[in-house]
Symmetry: none
Subunit: 77 residues, 4 copies
DNA sequence: GTGGTCTAGACCACG
DNA sequence: GTGGTCTAGACCACC
């Protein structure tokens, strides 16, 4: 099934891929929400939604005032 | 410490509990987004965020034009 | 520009094609709303929306109580 | 017989006139669906139907989250 | 500056 | 009427 369609899901998938593939390593800092918003051509709120999902999936950790970092893998697949 | 934090996470937890406990059975229809918003005293957007998470967790399925339903359990604990 | 693949637009396109190609001849009667809904696997109201567009395009004419008929071509392309 | 038009067609015509006459200029934002509904004294769904037609005619463009805008004229008559 | 929550409201597609 | 996606910007807390 072609999941890809809407922005926030597409972006969530792309970032997830980068993490799974190691393109974004554990502990690494993601660009700021503002930067990501501009980069993907969407509103900050949309990036926030993406981060809400990624955090819920345990893929990233947000540190207010500092940034969002790739989480250390636990025991997922 | 863990006094249930923010609205959306608290609500997501509450609904998750109801599903896990069987209070909300698989196939059952949840109240409409608008109703839930009023019931929890938050804006529709907040409920939408909750549903985004619950759907991502595979706990519920949204059927546009009809409603949100508790998903059939797959292989959870 | 893309043909947009949402149901109502897709169906409108398909029927338009059939008319343009002569597969559906002027004066010919279309299947009932109910039949079309079942045929395309959508809700009746979606077919109604399609018909609203087709009528606006001057491709079909509705005759209440009788049915929807392919319109006589005027001078469109 | 009088013009015999139903609401949605009448409104579609009125707005089309405003666009053709330049009363509503290209790029200009239309009032929100809700406002138009109130203004014309009809239900929101009626306005939605009007917009479906206007979009199909290529007269307006919807931008989710922002509004509906008068389209740049292409090459109609 | 950063992330994060929440409100508010827009259009959209479908029933 | 339903869910869904998106924009926009409020306000907060942290650094």
């Amino acid at each position: 099934m072609p999941t890809e369609k809407v922005d926030y899901r597409r972006i969530a998938t792309e970032i997830t891929e980068k993490i799974k593939s190691g393109d974004l390593a554990p502990g690494e800092k993601l660009p700021s929400t503002r930067q990501l918003a501009e980069q993907y051509g969407v509103h900050i709120s949309t990036i926030n939604r993406v981060m809400t999902i990624l955090k819920d999936r345990g893929l990233v950790e947000g540190h207010p005032g500092k940034g969002v970092y790739v989480a250390e893998p636990t025991q997922s697949s």
